[in-house]
Amino acid sequence: MNPVTSLRPQPGAKPTLLLVEDEFSTRWAAAEFFRAEGFMVVEADDVNDALMVLLSGKSIDAVFSDLRLPGDHGGEFLSTWLEKHRPNIPVLLTSGRTDGATCAGTNPLRRFVVKPYDLREVLRLVCRMLGRGIEMPD
């Protein structure tokens, strides 16, 4: 059985992913992929937009954010904000720089994936964080 298939959200329980990415093609591809996998996806292209969504009362189950974003704040700021104000929301960070992994720290609800990423791997990580909140052993 395809392990990704087994991790897909079940019908009727559509988790909402906040996707924060300023590069349109990357955001579009990821959004379409996650929608096809049964997620609701809210697209934001910078941290300000992400915060507006989070403060709007929209229910968000997980955040997938680029670390490098335009404006005064990047994904690291968003991750810190979420840790303080929405500590139960899992956050998957991404960057082309491998040292971005340090931003995820030791919190099991904070993970990092390096760019370019395989969307199936991203899906697997998000589903794991949604399912258990911590990574399960392979």
Partner: protein, 129 residues
Amino acid sequence: MSQAIPTIMVLEPDVLLRMALSEYLRDCGYRVIEGVKVEDVWTVIRTGVTLEVLFASVQPDGFALASKLRQTSPGVDVILYSGIADAVDKSSTICGRGPAKIRARPEAVARRIQRLLAGRERSLKQKGA
């Protein structure tokens, strides 16, 4: 026979407006691509994705975008919207069937898109007949 799902692009810089409208249109059964900047539209066009309708704000570049699309991609119907009455009048000269007075409720937008697509289908049938 399965029918292709029409693709609508919503070009709106305001994240909350874009989110609400896009979610509504997806619930209506459309495939929705969300764009923030005008360049996003050209990126989609370049990939060869067939866009049936572009729903775009007049501000900041809606008129220029609609004019250029009319020349380069006449198959894309454009609905420009604005809260400014003058802008709506002006858009009627650019968009043909498209312009929308927006006190935009998502339901009104969806109805407008539905009418637009129905008109397109009729037109295609007439051409084929």
